[in-house]
Structure formats: C-alpha cells, structure tokens
C-alpha cells in the first residue's frame, strides 16, 4: 500500500483530464484543469515525505530532527502559483468568450479549422 499516494495522484490526473476533454463549459474546463494540476502537488509532496518526519522548520525542534524534503515543498509552491496564473488567464478568456462569442461552450469555438 505504500504506492497508494502516487496512484492517487495518477487517478486525480486522469479524472481532471477526462473533465477537460468532455467539458461543455469553459469555466468547468478551467476547474477540471485545476484538478489535473493538483495531481502534481500530491505527487510531489508524497515523493518528499519521510516517515515520522516533521516539517523542515527548525524553530521549535532541534536542528538534527528528521524532517521531510524541503525541496519538493518549494517546487509545489511554485506549481501552485503557476496553476493560479493559468486559471486566471483562462477565466478571463471565458468571460470574453461569453461577451464576444455569446457562448461558453468550447465545442462551439471552432472558427478556425481545416
């Protein structure tokens, strides 16, 4: 069962991706994309976990205490910011789609094709 967190990350990714492919609404698509992105947080943080390790913050605990990996936490922080920014841009595009193209259905936004 020690691979369960990783398998969970894979499952979340697959679910999010399924939502993106089948979406009929741009806002729903953005949320599904966020779900897929959160799978990477789960994966990164699970990889860095050390049994019985505390947070890598040594304010209250002595310096040599076993702690989890700090690098993946920094990576996840960056990852979260990236997800937020992409979501903001896509939501802005969704708003403009409603305003100028009168639709939020991605299937209907196919002006250029062929």
């Amino acid at each position: 069962m020690s691979y369960l967190p990783y398998a969970l990350a894979v499952w979340i990714f697959a679910v999010g991706l399924y939502g993106v492919v089948r979406s009929r609404n741009l806002v729903h698509l953005v949320v599904c994309l966020s779900v897929a992105q959160s799978s990477t947080y789960v994966l990164l943080l699970s990889i860095g976990y050390v049994n019985r390790g505390t947070a890598p913050i040594f304010a209250d605990v002595p310096k040599g205490t076993r702690a989890v990996d700090p690098v993946v936490q920094a990576l996840t922080l960056t990852d979260v910011v990236v997800s937020v920014t992409v979501a903001a841009l896509l939501l802005a595009l969704a708003i403009q789609a409603q305003r100028h193209a009168d639709t939020t259905d991605p299937d209907e936004l196919s002006e250029m094709h062929g």
């Binding site: 020690s2 691979y3 369960l4 967190p5 990783y6 398998a7 990350a9 894979v10 499952w11 990714f13 697959a14 991706l17 399924y18 492919v21 089948r22 994966l43 699970s46 990889i47 860095g48 976990y49 050390v50 049994n51 947070a55 890598p56 913050i57 040594f58 304010a59 310096k63 040599g64 702690a67 989890v68 990996d69 700090p70 690098v71 993946v72 936490q73 920094a74 922080l77 960056t78 910011v81 990236v82 937020v84 920014t85 992409v86 903001a88 841009l89 939501l91 802005a92 595009l93 708003i95 403009q96 305003r99 299937d107």
Partner: protein, 245 residues
C-alpha cells in the same frame, strides 16, 4: 470529430497513459522512505548557513532564488495578461449604486479585515522563521481587501485599491526582487547571492538578504491578487457600451 469519437479516442489513450504512469510510480521509493540527497543536505546545512529556521523559505529565496524570481514574474505576467485580455475600450462605467450593508456586517468586516491585515503582515514578516513567507502572507493580505468589498461595497473597495497605485506596487515588488539580485552582482558576487548581516538564528533580523526578497515577493503577490480581483470585479459591475450603437 464527434464527441463520441473523441471520448472513445480519449478513453483508450487515457487507459494506456494511466497504465504507463502506474507502472512508473511503482518504481518510486516507497512512500515515506525518500532518501534523495538534495533535501537531506539542505535540511542539515541551511539553518547554519543562512540563520533561517524555515528551510523551505531558505530554499525558495536563496538556494533556488531564481525559480522564485521566475515565479514572481509568472504572476506579474498573468496580471498584465488578464488586463490585456479583459480590456474594453468601449467601456462605459455604469454608476454603481452605493450599497450600505447592515451595521453588524460592516463592523464585523472592519474587524476581520484589520485582523487579516495584521495576520498577513505577521505571516510575511516571520516567513523565514516559521511557516509562511511572501507568497502565503501576500495572499492573506489580498484577502483583506476582498473582505472590504464583501462587507462594504464596490466604492469602498475601489477607493482602497486604485489600480495605478497597485500596479506600481506590484511592479516594485517584482522589479525589486530582480534589483536585489543585481545588487549582489554589483557587490561582486553572483546574481542573488545573499548579502547583508546574517544575524541571529530565530530572530527577525537574520538571513541576510532573505527578508528583502521576502518583502518584495509579498508586495508583488498581494498587489497581483488585488489587481486580479479588481479586473474580474469590474467585469461584473461595469457594463460595456453596446457595440451595435
């Protein structure tokens, strides 16, 4: 492709991709038994070298400071991008009616907003000592502004967050981060090399240039989120002039 064909293609491919991913993660070290050298080395040396007790903050602002600079500018660029995408030159500012909430709501709002502001400043200031930092605190600070809108009204929010001023603050935060790096260059060391007195571990005055970077990122993140909220809020309350007129 019709939706049916698309779903079929996707389900088959996703099954294959999921199988591959599961095959891959089976070879990862067991959950909880991670042995990677990078993190272990940093956990053991960071406190001594930088006098900061929050090793994650040391990683974010010092060891991997360039990543954070990139990340700051990602936020900065997305705010500029949203401003670009949501611009509307034909916009006509509708007179937004003043909405007076009940006294209880307003009082609670002021109380909580003030509390959030202090909390945000605390989280930012102690970011390299205890859990927190520029990003986390910046978001809390931005939420104080959002609370002003919720408990008050649009005009109160707007008067507290004029876009040009917040723009300048955000740019100062992002540019400030880079300038700190350039200062290191001018001092003869590498870009973003820590400078300044390292101080005492566990006190606010420690970490060399980490506090400056911390504040710069807090400034940038809070300004960015306030700007994002303003941009999206304007979409609700400002009605664009109809183009067919």
């Amino acid at each position: 492709m019709s939706r049916g064909v698309r779903s079929g293609l996707f389900l088959v491919s996703a099954a294959g991709l999921t199988a591959l991913l599961l095959w891959a993660v089976a070879d990862l070290p067991d959950f909880g038994h991670y042995r990677g050298p990078y993190g272990k080395v940093l956990n053991s040396v960071a406190v001594g070298e930088r006098h900061t007790t929050n090793v994650v903050a040391a990683v974010v602002f010092d060891y991997r400071g360039v990543d954070t600079m990139g990340e700051e500018f990602i936020l900065f660029a997305s705010v500029m991008g949203v401003a670009l995408l949501l611009r509307n030159p034909h916009r006509e500012r509708r007179q937004v009616p003043v909405r007076i909430q009940s006294d209880a709501v307003r009082l609670a709002g002021i109380g909580f907003a003030a509390g959030l502001l202090v909390l945000g400043l605390y989280v930012v200031a102690h970011g390299y000592l205890t859990p927190g930092g520029g990003f986390q605190g910046g978001v809390v600070l931005a939420s104080a502004f959002v609370l002003v809108y919720l408990a008050g009204d649009y005009h109160a929010y707007r008067s507290m967050s004029p876009t040009p001023a917040i723009d300048v603050l955000g740019a100062t935060g992002a540019g400030g981060y880079t300038v700190v790096g350039i200062v290191s260059l001018l001092l003869g060391s590498a870009f973003l090399h820590n400078f300044g007195p390292l101080g005492t571990t566990g006190k606010l005055a420690s970490g060399g240039s980490i506090p400056f970077l911390n504040v710069a990122s807090a400034l940038e993140v809070s300004a960015a989120f306030v700007l994002l909220f303003s941009e999206f809020l304007d979409e609700l309350v400002v009605r664009p002039k109809a183009r067919s007129e």
